[in-house]
């Protein structure tokens, strides 16, 4: 089922949570809404489910306007961060609930509901636990039951709100892989919310990066990581360092010396240079470079992370060096980014 979000705005008591968001989700896609808390990602998910109503704009499921329908009529599967299982029902009763509350001819007979519940339990690899109560299950098992329950109603869209947020790291990784497998088997259009970029980049076909109620970038993991289109995305996804620079005639200047990098699509004026700590080359001499003194040096897994003070102590950038590099305290290091991006400062673009 294609889902199309068109110019949706949402305000809570006059406080804007989403500004004019538009997004097209293709049928069968696995999409991640990624952003820091307060970015509006959960609000967007709840709007799709119908748990919130948009202040403005509409949401289409295929050709029909779903915003006119109630939650019950939308037929979406929703998985909550804290499972939200019915604790007075067994696992099988939980999964069958959505079928049991149907009316008239839509309601399958009891044996069939039970059969369907067992099938789904098999799909989520919890066969044999059908008569347990939720408080007899571990967190990871509960979330699997919640997913089975959501899938039991043959939802048109599957929505997951930080589904692994309450689980420990090991279980998260395992469930992440497992969710991808389930998605590939069942082919549901799936949207999940997360603030964990590793989860989003690893799991999703496309990642929607959100900040302050706006969509910053939509793209594959490669797009988001290698071709960030805004300073926010550059800073939010992966590690990055930034320096205030000046652009003059396509040449990048750091204070009074040139960095040795050229740009041609950035107007003259103040700008910010972004690069990743590992995308650099060390230079011996400094005929166009960034130079700084070593402030701290840490060994992180297979590399050495060095924090450099550039231009006195005003700016600190982080770079990654091979472990062999001594990077003695207060020693001077010169380098140049190999992959980088310059974003003109906001006030200059409006001037």
């Amino acid at each position: 089922m294609d889902v199309s979000i068109r110019n949706v705005r949402k305000e809570f008591d006059r406080f804007p949570a989403l500004h004019n968001v538009s997004l097209d989700i293709h049928s069968g896609e696995l999409i991640a809404l990624l952003g820091p808390s307060g970015s509006g990602k959960t609000t967007l998910l709840r709007l799709i489910a119908g748990l919130e109503t948009p202040t403005d704009g509409s949401i289409y499921f295929g050709p029909e306007d779903a915003s006119l329908k109630s939650v019950q009529e939308r037929n979406v599967g929703f998985v909550f961060q804290h499972y939200a299982l019915f604790r007075h029902m067994t696992v099988a009763e939980n999964i069958g609930f959505g079928l049991k509350v149907r009316k008239g001819n839509d309601r399958p007979p009891n044996e069939q509901i039970r059969k369907r519940a067992l099938e789904l339990l098999d799909l989520v690899q919890l066969s044999g636990l059908e008569n347990r109560y939720p408080n007899q299950l571990s967190g990871g098992q509960r979330q699997r039951v919640a997913l089975a329950r959501a899938m039991a109603i043959e939802p048109r869209v599957l929505l997951l709100d930080e589904p692994f947020g309450a689980l420990d790291a090991q279980v998260r990784r395992e469930l992440r892989r497992w969710l991808r497998e389930i998605h590939d088997t069942t082919g549901h259009t799936t949207v999940f919310v997360t603030h964990d970029q590793e989860e989003a980049l690893e799991l999703a076909d496309r990642v929607v990066v959100m900040s302050q109620g706006r969509i910053e970038q939509v793209g594959t993991a490669d797009d988001a990581y290698d071709r960030p289109n805004s300073p926010f995305v550059y800073g939010f996804i992966g590690d990055s360092s930034t320096l205030p620079v000046r652009v003059e005639n396509g040449e990048i200047w750091l204070a009074d010396r040139t960095v040795g990098l050229q740009v041609n699509d950035v107007p003259d004026g103040n700008a910010s240079l972004y690069f990743r700590p590992h995308d650099i080359t060390l230079l011996d001499g400094c005929g166009g470079c960034i130079a700084g003194t070593v402030a701290t040096s840490r060994r992180v897994a297979g590399t050495r992370r060095v924090e450099l003070e550039v231009g006195g102590s005003q700016h600190r950038v982080e770079i990654e060096l091979p472990i062999e590099h001594v990077a003695a305290e207060r020693s001077r290091i010169a380098f140049r980014p190999t992959r980088w991006k310059v974003f003109p400062d906001a006030q200059d673009s409006t001037a």
């Binding site: 748990l51 909550f80 804290h82 299982l85 019915f86 604790r87 007075h88 509350v101 109560y133």
Partner: protein, 284 residues
């Protein structure tokens, strides 16, 4: 969680010391306050001998009074469960001006001398009172009938249900209701299948407390009941009447029967509660 059969142990290991003194104190205290006075009743009843006791117990006036007491208490407790749960729902789920006041007013039956409540109710529900005069044309008489007893018992029992259900209701996650909605359940289905079963243990507790309170109630009832033998005479009143007649044996017999019935009813409710708590989990 598994319920593997564990060997019964007298003492559970605990980091807090003082098991011995604590248990000793509890038993001594309960004995002084509850067990010894109650066993007095049992002893006095036993002194009557089986046939004597039986004759007193099966006295028609006694049986009728017990029937009225337990019947009215049961009806009052059921009414309180329905409307007390509703009051708790309103207090927990809605924000409106005066909510605090209403919340505080729920406790008034706890604090008010029950005689005052009885007189006030009698005044209002009497055929010439505010409410009574409205009901009289419909042919409904409340004051000085068994209906009046029920009204008084509802009054004294209400806070027990509200105060036991309210905190548990506050703990119910919005998530669970939203989950039910996304699965297609209507509001009614959500309340019936999801919310109420979760509240069952608390509702049962409220029921038991309200019922127990009603069985023992005396002050408020005697003012509104009219106290007509065989019609609106409650068992506690009959005990007092027997005492005033210096008929201690008769009083003891009624007391002993009340004690036994109350104990078994509360015990049964307790069993149901334990069972439902294990199943449903809320407030466990």
């Amino acid at each position: 969680m598994t319920y593997a059969p564990t060997r019964w142990r007298f003492r559970q290991p605990s980091v807090i010391p003082g098991f011995g003194p604590a248990l000793g104190f509890t038993i001594a205290y309960l004995s002084l306050i509850v067990l010894i006075p109650l066993s007095g009743i049992a002893l006095r009843a036993a002194a009557l001998g089986w046939s004597g006791f039986w004759a007193l117990a099966t006295d028609e006036r006694t049986l009728k009074a017990l029937e009225i007491s337990f019947g009215a208490s049961l009806i009052a407790a059921i009414v309180n469960v329905v409307f007390g749960t509703l009051v708790a729902w309103v207090l927990v789920r809605y924000r409106f001006p005066g909510r605090r006041l209403i919340d505080a007013a729920v406790d008034l039956p706890f604090a008010l001398p029950t005689a005052v409540a009885g007189i006030a109710l009698a005044a209002i529900y009497a055929p010439n009172g505010w409410v009574g005069s409205l009901l009289a044309p419909l042919g409904i008489k409340v004051a000085f009938t068994p209906l009046g007893i029920i009204v008084a018992l509802i009054f004294v029992g209400l806070p027990f249900v509200v105060r036991t259900v309210q905190p548990v209701m506050e703990e119910i996650d919005r998530d669970v209701e939203e989950a039910a909605a996304t699965l297609g359940a209507t509001r009614l289905q959500t309340v019936r299948r999801v919310i109420l079963p979760g509240l069952m243990p608390a509702i049962l507790t409220g029921f038991a407390l309200s019922f127990a309170r009603a069985v023992g109630e005396y002050g408020s009832v005697i003012f509104i009941a009219g106290n007509i033998p065989y019609v609106s005479e409650i068992a506690p009143l009959l005990i007092v009447i027997r005492l005033e007649e210096f008929n201690y044996a008769g009083a003891t017999a009624i007391a002993a029967i009340m004690l036994v019935i109350s104990f078994f009813m509360l015990f049964a409710i307790n069993l149901v509660q334990t069972w439902s708590r294990r199943r449903y989990g809320y407030g466990a």
